[in-house]
């Protein structure tokens, strides 16, 4: 047999340690991508067994292989059509019965299966005893290997089992005893399928017969070219129902669980007295009738604090390096090449470097956010959050699980759009995806920060908090409205969710995921941001009127300025009808954080030419020292921000006033208002600034989000989304400005 490289797949329920085992098997040799045409993550890695290369594919975690969700369809399509040499079924030893259900379906697909009995350490500590030999025999010869994914225990034994199983001589002979009436019909259908070569060559006939009797929508749709077979299946299902007073679906599930009962009998010993586990004790508090909601809110507050404040020092550090040393070096390099003051230098200094900066500055925010979310997910709290919040989310016509994308939306709308995938139902997904843009994302935060600092100084926190609340309120209203109109006739969606046991999140796993997600952002969104910054630079460099030539034109005379000027009057009633604001909003469609960049390009960019001072160029050592010392400062400040979550949280309680830590003695030292802030205060009234912020909060999501939404929900959806968000944003900004003026805040 000419073996190129064998393919094996990892399958299992969610949260059983599949990824952990995948990492243990493949080490760092892995590749993360997407399933073709799907946004479901696909992980592939390599491992060597006895010198032979084996490709491992990590299938999405599923409970079953029906057509219930995209993940299930992906998993079974892979097994049916790619026929992996071996499927490693990762099974949670603590939860054997339900986990074996997926195994019964793998066996029906007639692929060689080896069971990795994972979490065997927890099973042992709970007093379970599992006789793997007996289990294996009762499963008709499926090898069962005890593993502890986190410690790499059993990985070698697993590899050996895979190797042995890959030889075609090994036969597994498990058979599920179905109800005789059902069995008879399965066999008849099987015979019919066997007689259709096109089907028999592609599917396992018995499996296909079972799927047809289950009336699996996906399979029925794919076999629409075989109406006779489908009719035969429908008739068979009718006969079964008449004979047994039960539908085929029930009998099949009964049969599988019945098989599991015989498989585990005598092989699984579970202590009779149900001990209250640590997880149960935790749950008594965390989902408590009275404390449950406050604890939930506290958790969210901490996540919010982490993304809003903890990442700030590192963000400043990155910013400082880019605007300091890196700019110096590039300038110096350009000087050496004799390119200073040409359009090349302008492109690099005004287009590329700010663009790269705009991407990198975002990294610390996303990293902290993903760390926080990873910890919540891995600890098992996320499911509780959905459990606690479902009632409220349902009032908005959403699912408890919609909470997760909403929360992610506070970090970045793009992953939030992808996070809607956790929702099984299409209309739930779309509705959540529609509302997710109103959760004020991390990219909007820097804009508020600058505006807040410029106009409200120490009170800028109130503005920012108010904006977040407004976003949530608009989402609530929109959800309420949509549920009563567009989604009026949709049936309520299921909420069948496992509450996994609590676990201490492992830093390494959380970090790995954080790294993957953040670098994905840099790769995907990063290119768009970089590209768009350069496009904007170009638009600003091309003269459209008045005097000036390429790369030497006043912004208001550039193409960009002219376009902005034409559009500006739309915003007159909202108080910011000048071309600068409009221009920055146009760039904001490219990416929200660009607004600040383009505002400073418009306002400060001009100013800089005036006070081009001849500062002595810092030496390399000075720059290195600056980078080092500012990093230490940033690290200390990060720790300080983490520590300060405690006083900030306690200070929420009325009359409590705990001072915040100030390690470097620089708190309140916010005198260095940037040039941009100064320019903004001159150009706008505080009320107009608030209206402007409100508009930024609500208006059309950035290009990256639009691209993500298009992919997930289709063109039409995106069209409505853009129209609605623009409309509501304009309306809200006008209401704020006009209302505020009426109430006398206009000055």
């Amino acid at each position: 047999m000419a073996v190129s490289s064998m393919k094996i797949a990892l399958a299992g329920n969610p949260n059983v340690g599949k990824s952990t085992l995948f990492n243990a098997l493949t080490g760092s040799k892995q590749h993360v991508g997407n399933w073709p045409g799907k946004t479901v993550e696909k992980k592939e890695g390599q491992l060597y067994i006895a010198g032979q290369e084996v490709i491992v594919v990590d299938l999405p975690g599923t409970y079953s292989l029906t057509a219930y969700s995209i993940e299930e369809v992906i998993s079974r399509d892979f097994i049916v059509h790619e026929r992996p040499g071996v499927v490693v079924a990762v099974v949670d030893a603590v939860n054997l019965e339900r986990n074996l259900y997926l195994v019964t379906q793998l066996l029906e697909l007639q692929v060689p299966v080896v069971i990795a009995l994972n979490m065997s350490d927890i099973a042992q500590s709970r007093g379970f005893h599992i006789d793997t030999g007996k289990l294996s025999v009762q499963l008709g010869g499926v090898p069962v290997i005890k593993t502890i994914g986190t410690r790499g225990v059993g990985v070698d034994a697993l590899k050996t089992a895979i190797q042995q199983l890959a030889s075609p001589t090994v036969k597994q002979a498990a058979s599920i005893d179905y109800d005789p009436n059902l069995e008879r019909e399965i066999q008849q259908l099987e015979a019919t399928i066997q007689a259709i070569p096109a089907l028999a060559g592609q599917y396992v006939p018995r499996w296909l017969a079972i799927k047809l009797l289950e009336e699996d929508e996906d399979i029925v749709a794919r076999l629409s070219a075989y109406p006779a077979l489908l009719t035969q299946a429908t008739e068979a299902a009718g006969r079964i129902e008449a004979a047994t007073d039960d539908d085929a679906e029930t009998l099949i599930t009964d049969g599988r669980y019945g098989f599991i009962n015989t498989v585990i009998s005598g092989a699984l010993y579970r202590p009779q007295v149900a001990v209250e586990t640590r997880s149960d004790k935790l749950d008594r508090i965390l989902t408590h009738k009275y404390y449950g909601v406050p604890i939930f809110l506290l958790m969210m507050w901490v996540v919010f604090q982490m993304t809003a404040n903890v990442s700030a020092p590192m963000l400043d550090w990155v910013d400082g390096i880019i605007s300091g040393p890196i700019t110096h070096w590039v300038t110096a390099l350009l000087g050496l090449l004799g390119l200073e003051s040409t359009w090349v230098s302008s492109l690099l200094l005004d287009g590329v470097i700010p663009g790269v900066g705009g991407v990198l500055v975002f990294v610390p925010v996303l990293t902290t956010l993903y760390l926080a979310i990873g910890a919540l997910e891995d600890s098992g709290y996320m499911a509780r959050a959905a459990f606690v919040m479902d009632r409220v989310m349902r009032a908005m016509g959403l699912h408890g699980k919609s909470f997760l994308p909403m929360l992610v939306g506070f970090g970045c709308t793009v992953p939030a759009v992808y996070a809607t995938r956790t929702l099984e139902n299409e209309s739930d997904r779309k509705l959540t995806g529609f509302l997710v843009t109103f959760m004020s994302c991390g990219a909007r935060l820097p804009v508020y920060l600058v505006i807040g600092a410029a106009f409200f100084g120490a009170r800028s926190g109130n503005l920012i908090f108010g904006l977040y609340i407004l976003g949530i309120a608009i989402a609530l209203l929109t959800g309420w409205g949509l549920k009563r109109t567009v989604y009026r006739n949709k049936p309520p969606q299921p909420f069948v969710m496992e509450l996994p046991p609590y676990r201490a999140p492992r830093l390494r796993d959380v970090w790995r995921q954080t790294w993957e997600r953040t670098s994905e952002f840099v790769r995907k969104a990063g290119t768009i941001i970089l590209f768009s910054t350069m496009v904007i630079w170009l638009l600003m460099a091309i003269p459209a009127r008045g005097e000036g030539e390429f790369n030497d034109v006043a912004p208001e005379n550039s193409v960009f300025g002219v376009v902005s000027q034409v559009a500006a009057p739309i915003f007159e009633p909202a108080g910011f009808g000048d071309w600068q604001a409009t221009g920055s909003l146009i760039t904001g469609f490219v990416a929200k954080e660009v607004i600040i960049g383009s505002l400073s390009q418009i306002y400060v960019g001009e100013a800089e030419t005036v006070d081009a001072v001849d500062e002595p160029m810092p030496t390399l050592t000075e720059d290195a020292a600056f980078i080092g010392s500012s990093f230490v400062d940033a690290a200390v400040l990060t720790v300080q921000e983490v520590v300060n979550i405690v006083p900030r949280t306690l200070n929420l309680v009325p009359f409590v006033q705990i001072p915040e830590a100030d390690f470097l003695g620089i708190a309140g030292d916010e005198a260095d208002t940037t040039a941009l802030e100064a320019a903004l205060t001159q150009a706008y009234t505080p009320l107009a600034a608030v209206a402007f912020s409100v508009f930024i909060l609500l208006y059309t999501p950035c290009m990256a989000t639009v691209a993500a939404m298009r992919q997930e929900f289709g063109r039409q959806f995106v069209f409505y989304q853009i129209a609605y968000t623009f409309g509501i944003a304009w309306l809200a900004a006008v209401v704020v400005f006009q209302g505020g003026t009426l109430l006398g805040f206009g000055g």
Partner: protein
Amino acid sequence: MTFQQQARDAIRDSGGRITPQREILFDLLSHVEEDIDADGLYRLAAQQDPNISLPTVYRTLNTLEDAEVIASQYVSTDHERKVYRVNDKKDVFHFTCSRCGKVTQVTSHLVDKLRQELGSQIGADVLTVCMCAGGLCEDCRKEAQIMTLDQLQNGQPAKVVKITGKGAVRRRLMDMGLVRGVQVEMVKAAPMGDPVDYLVRGYHLSLRKSEAQMIEIDLG
């Protein structure tokens, strides 16, 4: 004419004698509150006169029925029992509870309609219609009412009997291990009362009440 007089006439017309035993039967028939079958009537009469015989009771009832002084009706859908009452020319029939056996007299204006309709269909004069109704009486229905998972109290164990409904939710519930005969225990409700955390096959599964309603259970 009282019932007793009608009855005596009927017996005489058929050539029978008016004995004290028969008088007892007439009296009982006119006074019993509910419709009575031959056995019941015999037992009551025997309490007053031990000499009365069951054949006498049957003969008297048949004569009276032929003369349309009393009416008879089958109860229970298997037609095992026939009950009698004074013929008031009303379309009364009986509902028998299949669980406790209780018989309830019922009537409906639809019976009269039915008679007319049948009459016009076949051009006959339909005088009697025999009808029986069976099922669970109100008490029994309440008692045997099927309990669903959402009604399960905290800490109470129960067994799944059936998953009702259709479609993806039902499929999912079964995939998650909620099949016939499996033990479920309610652990706790979410702070706002819904969803609810259940313990199934050793793991925690949260369901909305609306989903738990699809699951029929048996306590114990």
